[in-house]
C-alpha cells in the first residue's frame, strides 16, 4: 500500500496526489484567451485533454495540468494579450483524493456546504474547518480537496480522524 494512502473498512480512501501544475488566472474576459476554454459560470469546470480549468469566481480560474504539460500551458498563457494575471501556484497546494461511499459524510465533518448538490465535474472554493480549500467532484463518490500546503497537515489530521470515526460506525 502506498504510504500516503490510508484505507479503512468504512470505504473512504484518502490519497495524497502527486504534484501537478497549477495556475491561478485572473482576467476580465475569458473569450480573450486563445487555446484555453474557460467556463464562465462560477463552479463550472472544463477539461481539454489532461488540462482542466475551474471557474472559481467571475474573473478567476484555477488551471491544472500534468507537470509534463507545464511548458505548453505557460506558453499558452504567455499568448494572452488582454490585461491579466497568471501566477503559478503549483507548489502552494496539496491535493487529496477522497473516495468511497461515505465521502459525503467525511466531507460534512468539516465543510458547511451541501456537497450532495454539487454536480459531478464541477467544483468550488469553500472551507474545511476554517481552512480555505478547493473541492472538485470527480465522480459521485470521489472528490479532490486542494488545500494550501501550510494548512494541509491540519486538514489531513481531521480527515484521518473522521475516517476512523466513520469506520467505527460513529
Amino acid at each position: 500500500m502506498n504510504a500516503m494512502t490510508s484505507t479503512l473498512a468504512a470505504g473512504v480512501t484518502i490519497t495524497e496526489l502527486a504534484p501537478t501544475t497549477r495556475i491561478a488566472l485572473r482576467l476580465a474576459d475569458p473569450a480573450t484567451v486563445p487555446g484555453l476554454s474557460l467556463p464562465t459560470e462560477v463552479g463550472a469546470r472544463s477539461a481539454d485533454g489532461s488540462r482542466t480549468a475551474l471557474c472559481l469566481g467571475p474573473d478567476e480560474w484555477l488551471i491544472e495540468a500534468p507537470e509534463a504539460d507545464r511548458a505548453a500551458v505557460l506558453a499558452t498563457l504567455a499568448g494572452i494579450s488582454a490585461p491579466h494575471s497568471a501566477v503559478e501556484v503549483s507548489d502552494r497546494e496539496i491535493t487529496y483524493a477522497l473516495e468511497g461511499p461515505a465521502v459525503l459524510d467525511l466531507l460534512a465533518t468539516g465543510c458547511p456546504r451541501d456537497l450532495a448538490r454539487m454536480p459531478v465535474g464541477s467544483g468550488a472554493r469553500t472551507v474545511f474547518d476554517t481552512a480555505q480549500v478547493v473541492l472538485t467532484r470527480e465522480t459521485d463518490d470521489r472528490f479532490h480537496l486542494t488545500v494550501w500546503r501550510s494548512f494541509a497537515s491540519h486538514v489531513r489530521a481531521l480527515l484521518d480522524l473522521a475516517q476512523r470515526e466513520l469506520a467505527a460506525g460513529l
Binding site: 462560477v42 463552479g43 469566481g57 467571475p58 478567476e60 456546504r113 468550488a124 472554493r125 472551507v127
Partner: protein, 104 residues
C-alpha cells in the same frame, strides 16, 4: 445554519463562507481635502445602525471572493435581498412588503 444567496455564484451558501464588510452605499468623497474634520469623521466612522432594514456589504470570501451588497432585516436577521456590487439600492419598504421577503 444561515444561508446567504451569493449573486455571483447564484446559490444559497453557508454563512461560514462569507465575511461581513460594513455598511453599503457609502461613497468616498471625491475631494477629501475639501472636507471639514467633522465631515471626514462622518465619512470614516459614523454609520446608520438602523433597527430594521440595513444595507450592507458582504464578501464571499471562501467562495468566489466577490464583494456584493445585501439588505438585511436586523431584528430577525433575515436577508431580504442580495445584489451585485454597483447595482442600485433596492427600496426597503418594497422588500419588507414582498410576500416571501426573500427577493433574490
Amino acid at each position: 445554519m444561515l444561508l446567504i444567496y451569493c449573486p455571483y455564484c447564484e446559490q444559497d451558501l453557508p454563512e461560514l463562507e462569507f465575511a461581513y464588510a460594513g455598511e453599503a452605499h457609502i461613497a468616498r468623497p471625491a475631494d477629501p481635502a475639501a472636507l471639514s474634520d467633522e465631515e471626514w469623521r462622518d465619512f470614516l466612522f459614523i454609520r446608520s445602525n438602523p433597527k430594521g432594514v440595513h444595507f450592507e456589504r458582504w464578501r464571499h470570501l471562501n467562495g468566489c471572493a466577490r464583494f456584493f451588497n445585501a439588505a438585511r432585516e436586523t431584528v430577525g436577521d433575515k436577508f431580504l435581498a442580495t445584489y451585485k456590487a454597483g447595482e442600485p439600492r433596492p427600496d426597503a419598504d418594497a422588500l419588507l412588503a414582498s410576500p416571501t421577503g426573500d427577493a433574490k
